[in-house]
């Protein structure tokens, strides 16, 4: 039969030479390789004592941002959920009551917001879809867990704390920051008040 490639080799069964039959030179050769590796730089690190440098565009644990006054930016528009290819995001919207203006930026807010971290593929499409600059992916690692239920992150784990803000300045490209300064987008601010 004609072979598909010319890479096949015919195996020869020669009788071994004396050096080969002794095995010792082969063992020595192998040991040299092993010992050489002992003095090489290790490729692994002992996490979490040592942590690697993150890329500026690393996409990890999500954060739901608050605005400068500490009100939640998310308005439960559902665009993150509809853009999510893994269908990891669910939310329930609610209407803001009088007196809650400091808690929620707009008249509608997400009363529950859940991301299933086992489904999430960290593609960043939710961030891209968000019209309110509410959701960002950060350089934090999603902690491990023993149970599946522990990977469904609710608002308690996603919304940033008022006193412990999470820096997302690296996630905002120049074009985004420029976009925010345009006077023609000032209508966004008007609604908030």
């Amino acid at each position: 039969m004609q072979s598909l490639t010319n890479r096949s080799k015919v195996v020869e069964r020669k009788e071994m030479t004396l050096a080969e039959r002794l095995y010792l030179p082969a063992i020595v050769n192998g040991m040299v390789i092993t010992i050489k590796h002992l003095f090489k730089k290790k490729t692994t690190i002992s996490y979490p004592e040592v942590q690697r440098e993150f890329s500026d565009i690393y996409r990890g644990h999500h954060v739901l941002k608050r605005d400068d006054d500490g009100a939640e930016r998310c308005t439960a528009c559902g665009l993150c959920a509809v853009s999510c290819p893994a269908e990891a995001i669910t939310m329930v919207a609610a209407e803001r009551k009088p007196g809650e203006e400091k808690l929620y930026r707009e008249e509608k807010y997400a009363s529950t917001y859940e991301i299933n971290m086992l489904r999430c593929i960290f593609c960043g499409l939710c961030e891209e879809a968000c019209p309110k600059e509410a959701i960002f992916l950060t350089d934090r690692i999603v902690p491990s867990n023993f149970e599946r239920g522990g990977f469904v992150f609710g608002k308690d784990k996603l919304v940033e704390k008022v006193d412990l803000r999470i820096d997302v300045s690296k996630r905002q490209t120049k074009s985004v920051l420029e976009f925010k300064t345009h006077k023609q987008y000032s209508h966004n601010k008007l609604i908030n008040k």
């Binding site: 439960a76 528009c77 609610a94 707009e106 309110k132 023609q184 000032s186 209508h187 008007l190």
Partner: protein, 326 residues
């Protein structure tokens, strides 16, 4: 009968037909968009100017072109008329301008608005508008008004198409709803904040092309594209009872009338069907509603799969026969 040519398509339509309706008889891309015209409401049209078309030949007798673009919803055809819609750059340019004008005072709060996903203005903006707004001034705002338990009025979103006032005029017995003030200050209102409690007042929600009038019972309960539209009917003494149920799981979140491909209601439904019958047991479900594949609502909306019934026993027999044959 009059012979008209719209975008190179020749057709014969009865005298007195408007250009828009003539185009709708053929259908497809040559139909101009309409924000205010509503075929079921007498007198509607001529307000929004999105349906502008160019008449390059007035009629067979007088072949001069019309000097300006004309609203196709309120211009009747004449024998030998030649109309340009999407083939004319002037029309497309003018439409872009009209969309920009409509959006000047629109708050762009789509993330909050319940109409998002099925909003005519959103569709129009995507199809004909600019991606950016050039408007820098402060937008016109109105005081919040309460017009009843079932209907929510957001005057800021209104584009003043007057459709809802025609509903109030023509479907309901007494006129309790209209436009007050003039020009930039014009606003939809019920006179002396009188609550609308007519049996068919709920139809102004479906008739509204934007999110100015929305269902209070559905307010913020779900985005439209997360609900499943199902055709359903029930025996109703007041109306035809033919509706669309917007379901999430086994819950009926919203009941609306059935809209045709031009976004117009096929039949007006009563308030009892719309606001009070929110149980699946109240309805006879006919099957999934057809949704245009370009709509965001068509996400995860399957119309065919539900209708396929596989006869497993028959299928197993067929397989067994095939195996026995060898």
């Amino acid at each position: 009968m009059a012979k008209v040519t719209i975008d190179g398509l020749e057709m014969e339509v009865p005298d007195g037909t408007s250009i828009l309706n003539a185009a709708r008889m053929v259908g497809g891309d040559i139909v101009p968009p309409a924000m205010c015209y509503y075929s079921k409401l007498k007198g509607s049209g001529g307000k929004c100017r999105t349906c502008l078309v160019k008449v390059s030949q007035g009629s067979a007798k007088d072949p001069r072109p019309m000097p300006k673009l004309v609203p196709s919803c309120s211009t009747t055809v004449q024998d030998g008329m030649v109309v340009e819609n999407i083939t004319s750059l002037d029309v497309l340019e003018a439409r872009k301008g009209v969309v920009e004008f409509l959006l000047i005072n629109h708050p762009l709060d789509c993330p909050v608005c319940d109409q998002a996903g099925e909003c005519d203005l959103q569709n129009l903006g995507y199809k004909h508008g600019l991606a950016k707004t050039r408007y820098e001034e402060e937008r016109r705002t109105f005081e919040k008004a309460d017009i009843g338990d079932n209907i929510k009025l957001h005057m800021n979103r209104c584009i003043l198409c007057y459709r809802c006032t025609y509903v109030a005029d023509q479907l309901t017995d007494c006129r309790s709803h209209g436009v007050i003030n003039r020009g930039d200050h014009a606003e939809i209102s019920t006179y002396i904040s009188k609550a609308i409690d007519n049996d068919f007042s709920g139809n102004m929600i479906d008739v509204c092309p934007v999110g100015a009038l929305t269902d209070k019972t559905f307010r913020f309960s779900s985005r439209v594209w997360f609900t499943k539209p199902m055709d359903a009917h029930r025996d109703c003494k007041k109306c035809s009872g033919k509706v669309v149920l917007w379901e999430k799981g086994n819950e009926v979140l919203r009941v609306t009338g059935r809209k045709d491909k031009y976004g117009e209601l096929e039949e007006f439904i009563c308030n009892e069907c719309r606001f009070e019958k929110k149980n699946t047991s109240d309805w006879v479900i006919e099957g999934p509603r057809h949704i245009d594949k370009h709509s965001v609502i068509s996400q995860n909306h399957y119309e065919l799969l539900n209708n396929i019934k596989v006869d497993i026993v028959k299928y197993q027999k067929q397989v067994a026969e095939r195996v026995n044959k060898g």
